[in-house]
Structure formats: structure tokens, C-alpha cells
Amino acid sequence: MVLDFFRGGGDAQLERIEAQIRQMLLDDRHTFDNAINALIGGTDPALVGKDIRKTDKGVNKAERAVRRELVVHVSVRGTSADIPLVLASMSVVKDAERIGDYSKNIWDIANSGVDLSDAEDITVLTRYRDRISKMIGETARVFGEKDLEAAHTMLQAGDVLQDEYDELIDEQLHTEKPAREAVPRALLYRYFKRITAHLMNILTSLVMPIDRLDYYDEAKADRE
């Protein structure tokens, strides 16, 4: 034990923190898939509710663990701590936790009795479901591998998606359809937008300076 203390170590702790954030994203994807399928895939919300709550608790716990470990990193390393990485991680871990929360909100819609599995716009809803689920998984990979090129590409795609959500939400706000059809869709597209925004925030941590974290859409010149 004593000799082991002197061997290796290096930056393994920060790598561990990054791995935890990646795992949080993979758990988010699991929660999102379960929640959206309860709303548009015909899955009984009661069947997945327990799993969603358990996974979300795990994500919340992981967020607190990462924060603690970041405090330990700064306390131990002092001035040699990787401050930009610590600050970025504090921000990213919050984004990962929020994705879990919005996924849970989607499940809440389904759990309140809304079922869109037979809706006329199911093809559109399914397409967005698949894109977001894939985007969560891809963000986990890109974050883990620090694939800067892929991060740029995904940010551009995310920017387009955000505009689409705005149009879809606007459409629901001005529709003549009854509230029981418009409200769930307005909420759902709003949640899609927030999930996509949090994924983009995570991606900005790879390609943007620390002061512009989360502000990708306000500095278009930085994207090129």
C-alpha cells in the first residue's frame, strides 16, 4: 500500500472525472430513451418510471461526486491545478444533470396520461427522438475522445436543430388545435430544445474558451 502510493497517479483523477461525466451522459441517454418511448413509443409509463427515477438519482449522485472530486483536485494541486478544466467540468456536469431532468419531464407528460404513439405527426416526433438520442450518445463519445472536429460538426447541426424547435414551438403556440394536442407538443419541443442546448454546452467545453462556455449561439464568429 505504501509503495503503491508513490507509483504513478499522474492525471488519472481528472481522466476519472471525465469518464464519470461520460457515464452520466450515457445514463441520460438511457433515461431519455425510456421517457420518450413512454410518450411516443407506446411503452407503459408505469413500467419505466422506476428505472427513470433510479437512473436520474444516479446521475444526480454522480454530479455531486464529480464536484467533490474537483474540489479535492484544486485543494491538492493548488496553483498547479488544471483550473480551466475544473471550471469547464463544473459547468459540464451541471449540463449532464439537466439533460436527465428534462428527460424526466418528458416522462411526466406521458405519466399524466398523454399518449402520442398514434398521433398523425408521429413520423416527425420519431425523427427528432432518434436524432436527440443519437446526439446524446455522440456527445458522450466526442467528449470522451475529445474529438474537436466532430464537436464543431455537431454544434453546427445543433444550431440548425434549435431553429427547427423554435419554429415547431411557434407553430403550437398559434395552432387552432385543442390544448390537449398543442400543449404536450409545445412542452416536448421545448424539452428537446433544452436537451439539445445542454448537449451543445457540453460540446462548447471542447472547442470554446472558458469565458464563452454555454454561449455558442451568441458568438457565431467563433464557430468558424
Partner: protein, 364 residues
């Protein structure tokens, strides 16, 4: 690591140079020097003040080991000084906690985290110093242990041919020859050796700490995360001990805890055993220093340091009611300090500078 081994060698050379320098001053000078600390309380205050001034109990204890090893300071006189060094070293993390003065709740936690170490060490001295003066149990135990080690580990204290001692003596002898060649003898040579010894001890320990902190930072992080996940207890104590042995500084270990306690991620109860482990870990420096001394008393006083800290833990840690006393007192002091911040300055200067200084002046 090779550089650290070289620094350890320099540290031992420093202890040897200090020892040689002190021996060169002659018996009359050293007798008059230490006459003032024949009172155990004065010795205790000297230990506190010296450690506060150099901000390192390792430097103080290594110096004391050098003095005892040279035969100029007796073990009974050195015991209170060693205990004083234990108290003096706690000032570093108390100073570290002052960085949170502007944020009340964080400061309260940080100050309590820092001062629990003060209270534990003061309590340990309050009980163990009178006991030692009455029975000599620490010095007798250390002497018995040194005798046992001398027989079992083939340490030949009196032999000039011991490989470590021979390697350590060579550069000191070379320095003496050079200085003598330049015309300096007796007192001048002794002063130069004394200064060289102190400088080498100070610089070597500072660089060992700095380098080892970088080398083991990743492990320290991992160990701290273990404590955060599993809580305190014996594991935390072992981590505090190993960390301190690795960086050769209990101040580093305890100061690292302060930001974590301030942030609220590490509780006082979980940080407490790490601090106690650090108390034991820091005694390794004196044990290392004793490798360079000629007389077995050098090892005896180093072992007194270890036994004192282990005794303190055995006295106050196993019984929950006693274990909680330093935490309770630190919490109370921090609560008062949070409201009346001027008291913090009064406490730091009073406990670590004024009281020891007045104590020395009055008691010598």
C-alpha cells in the same frame, strides 16, 4: 525520485554538519545556551516558537535530533521541545484557514478544521508532558525501542564505518578541510558548519516537500476521494500518515484539508483522523535525521516524537467521548471567530507567538 533521494542525502549531510558545528562550540557555550530551557515549560515554548518561525516542525525536530545526537542537548530537555514543535506546526493550516475570512460559513468550517489540530496537540501535551516528567515513560520506552532496533537492525550507532554515516560524514569533512585551508578554525568553523547544516536541512526539506507533492499529487487525490466516499476512521488515519511520510510535511497534509473542509465536501469528523495520521507521519523526518547522528540518543529523541504522537492517538481517539473533545472545542472557537473576526488574530498571535515568547522570558 532519484532527485528526492539526493535531497534526502543532503538533508542527512545537513544534520551531520549541524551536529559537528554544535560540537565545535564547546561544552561551556552549549551549557549556557540550554541552561535557559532546563524548565520543561520553557523547552515546550522554545519548540512552539522555533517551529512557528521556520514554519516547519520537520526542521525543528531534525535540528533537535542533531543537537541530541551531538550530545549537547539531553533527551529529557529535548522532549518538551519536540512536543512544542508538534503544537507549533499547527499554525500553518490555521493561517491557511484565514484565506476564507471574508466568507463566514466557509471560514467557520475552515477555522474549525484547522484548530481541531491545535486542540488535539495541546490536549496531548497537557496530559502527556506531566506524565513524561513524572514517569519518563516516553523517553524510557523510546530508549528501550532504540535498544531493540540497535540489536535487531544491525544499526551500529557508535561505528564510524556505518555506510550511511560514512557517506554523510565525507562531505562535512571535506567542507571542514576547505574552510580550515582558508584559515578559519574553531569557533568560525563551527559557526559556518552550524549555518551550513541549518541551511541544508531547510532547503532539502523544502525541495523534498515540493517535489514529492508533485510526484504523489495524483495518489493524494485518489486517497482523499476514498476518504470522501468511505468516511474517516483508520483508513483516513493511514492515508494521513502515508501522505505526510511522502511529502515530509504534516503542514502540507493538514493545509490540503482546509479548502475541502471549507467547501463542505470533507466533514470535520472525517478530516480529524487524517490530521492524526499526519501527526505520526511527520515523525519520520526526525527518524531519518537520527540516521546521521553519532549517538543513540538521536534515535531515542526521534522515537520519543513517534511514541508521543501514537500515545496521543491512543489516549484520545478510541473513546468516542474523548475523540469529540477537540472537534467540539474547535467548533466552539470557530463559532466565536465567525462573529468576532478580530479574535482570530488575537488567537493566532497570542497562542503561537506571545504566549511562547512570554513563557520563555519568564521561565528561563
Amino acid at each position: 525520485m532519484v532527485f528526492v533521494v539526493f535531497l534526502l542525502y543532503l538533508f542527512l549531510v545537513g544534520v551531520k554538519a549541524l551536529e559537528s558545528g554544535i560540537q565545535g562550540f564547546g561544552a561551556d557555550f552549549t551549557d549556557s545556551l540550554f541552561k535557559g530551557v532546563s524548565n520543561p515549560l520553557a523547552g515546550l515554548f522554545v519548540g512552539v516558537l522555533a517551529t512557528v518561525l521556520v514554519q516547519s516542525s520537520s526542521v525543528t525536530t531534525a535540528t533537535i535530533v542533531g543537537l541530541v545526537g551531538a550530545g549537547t542537548l539531553t533527551v529529557p530537555l529535548a522532549v518538551p521541545m519536540i512536543m512544542g514543535a508538534n503544537i507549533g506546526t499547527t499554525v500553518t493550516n490555521t493561517l491557511a484557514s484565514l484565506g476564507y475570512l471574508r466568507r463566514s460559513s466557509e471560514f467557520r468550517r475552515a477555522f474549525a478544521g484547522a484548530t481541531m489540530h491545535d486542540f488535539f496537540n495541546i490536549m496531548a501535551v497537557a496530559v502527556l508532558l506531566p506524565l513524561e516528567l513524572a514517569t519518563g515513560f516516553l523517553s524510557k520506552g523510546a530508549a528501550a525501542l532504540a535498544g531493540f532496533l540497535g540489536k535487531s537492525t544491525d544499526l551500529e550507532f557508535e561505528s564510524p564505518d556505518s555506510p550511511i554515516k560514512a557517506a554523510v560524514k565525507a562531505p562535512v569533512k571535506l567542507f571542514e578541510n576547505i574552510v580550515e585551508g582558508l584559515g578559519a578554525h574553531n569557533t568560525v568553523l563551527s559557526i559556518l558548519l552550524f549555518i551550513l547544516g541549518l541551511a541544508l536541512i531547510f532547503v532539502a526539506l523544502a525541495y523534498i516537500t515540493r517535489n514529492m507533492k508533485l510526484v504523489v499529487a495524483g495518489r493524494i487525490e485518489r486517497s482523499m476521494n476514498v476518504v470522501l466516499a468511505k468516511g474517516g476512521g483508520i483508513t483516513a488515519m493511514a492515508i494521513g500518515l502515508i501522505m505526510t511520510v511522502a511529502v515530509q510535511s504534516s503542514s502540507i497534509t493538514t493545509s490540503v484539508l482546509v479548502p475541502m473542509i471549507a467547501a463542505g465536501v470533507l466533514t470535520l469528523a472525517n478530516a480529524y483522523p487524517i490530521t492524526l495520521g499526519a501527526n505520526v507521519g511527520t515523525t519520520v523526518t526526525a527518524l531519518l535525521a537520527s540516521l546521521a547522528t553519532d549517538r543513540p540518543e538521536g534515535l531515542v529523541i526521534a522515537l520519543v516524537h513517534t511514541l508521543f504522537n501514537i500515545s496521543g492517538i491512543l489516549l484520545f481517539y478510541p473513546i468516542p467521548q474523548l475523540r469529540r473533545i477537540p472537534l467540539y472545542l474547535a467548533g466552539k472557537l470557530a463559532a466565536v471567530a465567525e462573529v468576532r473576526k478580530s479574535l482570530v488574530i488575537v488567537y493566532v498571535i497570542g497562542a503561537f507567538v506571545l504566549v511562547p515568547l512570554l513563557g520563555i522570558l519568564i521561565l528561563q
